[in-house]
Amino acid sequence: MIGAHLINGGTLAVNEIPVLGIDGFRGWVCEAVSAGATLAALFGHPLPAGAGDGAGAGAGAGKVRLVAVLTWPLDGCLEVLAADAGDTYRALTPDCPSAHWFEREIAEQWGIRPEGHPWLKPIRYHPSWRPGRDAWGRPAGGEILPCVTDFYRVEGEEVHEVAVGPVHAGVIEPGHFRFQCHGETVFHLEIALGYQHRGVEPALAGGPGPRTMALMETLAGDTTVGHGLAYAQLVEGLAGCRVPARAMAIRAVGLELERLANHVGDLGALANDVGFLPTASYCGRLRGDFLNLSALLCGSRFGRGLVRPGGVAFDLEPARVDSLKARLVPIVADVGNAVNLLWTASSVMARFEETGTVDRATAVQLGLVGPAARASGFERDVRMEFPTGFYRFQQVPVASLPGGDVFARAYVRWLEVQRSEAFIAQALAGLPPGPVRAELPGPLAPDRFAVSLTEGWRGEICHVAQTDAAGKFAWYKVVDPSFHNWMGLAMSLRDQPISDFPLCNKSFNLSYCGHDL
């Protein structure tokens, strides 16, 4: 490895991160990814005036540093390296496809052009964060309309285009989908997002402050615990805070309840999309039952208010633990009863099997994460590979299937449901004694760099931040699992009937706001 090493939740002094030439940076990231590393984050951040090469006062002003965070699953460690980019550089994407969305983000945020990128378009449709530098040469101050771009088009007789969104038919977040179809068959699906852009990352700079935790808990509201935990771990690393064991256990219970609620809800929604109403109906209720267990922990069905830097805000008194255990038993039984109907119903299996297939090679190339990756035989799970907190003491076996189709994505969820249930039962049976929250010993360490990963229910969540001389966030980077996976959904639609889109979409169930930030 060329870059600096750290573990999940660890920190580095900013000057420990090697700053390579852009060619060396590009070469090593591409080489590492082909050698089995994955790209957890690739992004730019502004250099403060005075930093960067040249070192004279003001030399860094307006300059952008690129940072790559690589994960090495076999070594259980993370690698960080950096490079100072000019206004253009040679794109990584042709040799490292999993960089493709990151490089589009870099171009949009900082006006840096990755030359040779095969698909260089905006991803969120906001003005450049570096005034006067626009990767597409758009005039400063000009209006940028969401999802107005040069869409990929297939020409030919009887080829037609279907456009959907931003407002969809259901109670769902907005996004725009363009299908290039020949009859029923989809040649290509292009997904354009950005409608949900709320400006979260710029607002996090200068923190932590009173609003920081609220922004974390609403990055993707169905992943409140996942993002909240990623942030808490990061801050605890920067403050040198030791989290009590009991808090670690309660956090893990909260994270697994979040996974259960969403996975069970997804299984119900998949059943609904093939018109199999018994499972759809039961799972809708059961999802709510899991949310109610989260509310039993902390008052919020989405786990809001549970995770706080230093631990958790709510303890579980013995009666509450008993109540949680007792309520879990019938819910688990009902989930098994409802979900197992799917696998024996030929009308369901006929729709699930060999629909929306993403093969393993594609999943690895795109850098898919979470159940979508594991359902394509790409075994990766932060809880196993880079465990933090309670996952260092109690493991969750990684669930994986090779098929890559809707069935595999559904069945991986079902396997994970069973493992999360067992995990929670085991954690509750042996809940460590002691306090549930430690005070942060002081302000965050100045001029340090931190990375925190958690395995949210959609997959790997990555938070990266750097503190300034005053111990405040100089910048804060969030990578939601959906950021990696939207292209996976697009690929799953190739050569599929357009009528299978809802089913494929639900089998990924990605976050719009988590992507748009």
């Binding site: 407002v167 977040e173 949900q196 979260v200 109906s281």
Partner: protein, 257 residues
């Protein structure tokens, strides 16, 4: 087939008794706060220091919380040395006017939502169709609207239904702080909904921008696009809070509830 029937038997009848029977809410639910301005140590100001959204409007005798901005995180209760702020698990929160979301101390009544005006009520009382638009919503408000359609809440028994087309809708329920990127789509959806229509702001984002209030990328809520007829506070509101508001709006709440 036999297995499907057996599972139907095992799953049982699950629709809640409320609003005719009692509602079951979590004991730790942070609902309407009870304020005691008389014991507030005026000048300590810790509550205002920790509030993420500036929802604590005054201290001392002026102690008040704006539930439109409040995220119900409970941080103000935790830091208050006097115990002047206590979140209760009262879930009935929806109101008809923005100013009614301000909770004060003492015996000041909290004015819950009122039914729509008489001629419109005739139209909506037995059938009200809702088009939901997520405009920057984080998928928590959306999820707790969606859950009303499950058999646990069974929205349909009140003549309420979430529909796909605004042309079929009587109400537009907005979630999220309305990013600039979604403004036009929301305006078009509201305009496509035939009149008489009502606009419902679900969650603190749609009421006042929530944790994104003041961000240059958002409009701080649905009120910037259309006048709001029903405000349902929360981050997200509990599904019962949403259903309570909807039932009050269409005059279906049993007397005394």
């Amino acid at each position: 087939m036999l297995q499907v029937l057996l599972s139907r038997w095992q799953q049982g009848y699950r629709t809640m008794a409320w609003p005719d029977g009692e509602a079951v809410v979590p004991d730790r639910l942070r609902g309407r706060p009870a304020l005691r301005p008389e014991i507030c140590q005026n000048g300590c100001d810790r509550c205002r220091g920790v509030c993420p959204t500036g929802a604590v409007l005054g201290t001392g005798g002026d102690l008040a919380i704006d539930l439109g901005r409040c995220l119900f995180c409970g941080e103000c209760q935790i830091v208050c040395p006097a115990g002047a702020i206590a979140f209760t698990n009262e879930f009935r929160l929806a109101v008809s006017r923005r100013e009614d979301l301000i909770v004060r101390g003492g015996n000041a009544p909290y004015r819950l939502a009122e039914p729509v005006s008489a001629p419109v009520l005739d139209l909506f009382h037995r059938s009200c169709k809702i088009r939901q638009v997520s405009a920057g919503g984080c998928n928590a408000c959306e999820a707790d609207i969606n859950v009303l359609g499950t058999l646990a809440f069974d929205l349909g028994r009140f003549g309420l239904q979430v529909v796909a087309s605004p042309r079929h809708a009587d109400a537009v329920a907005v979630t999220g702080p309305v990013p600039h990127q979604m403004r036009l789509a929301l305006e078009k959806t509201v305009a496509a909904t035939p009149t008489p229509r009502v606009v419902i702001a679900v969650g603190s984002c749609a009421i006042a921008g929530g944790p994104f209030a003041g961000h240059p990328q958002v409009n701080d809520g649905a009120g910037k696009v259309a006048p709001v007829d029903l405000f349902i506070p929360g981050c997200p509101p509990h599904p019962l809070t949403i259903l309570d508001g909807l039932l009050r709006l269409i005059g279906r709440m049993p007397a005394g509830r």
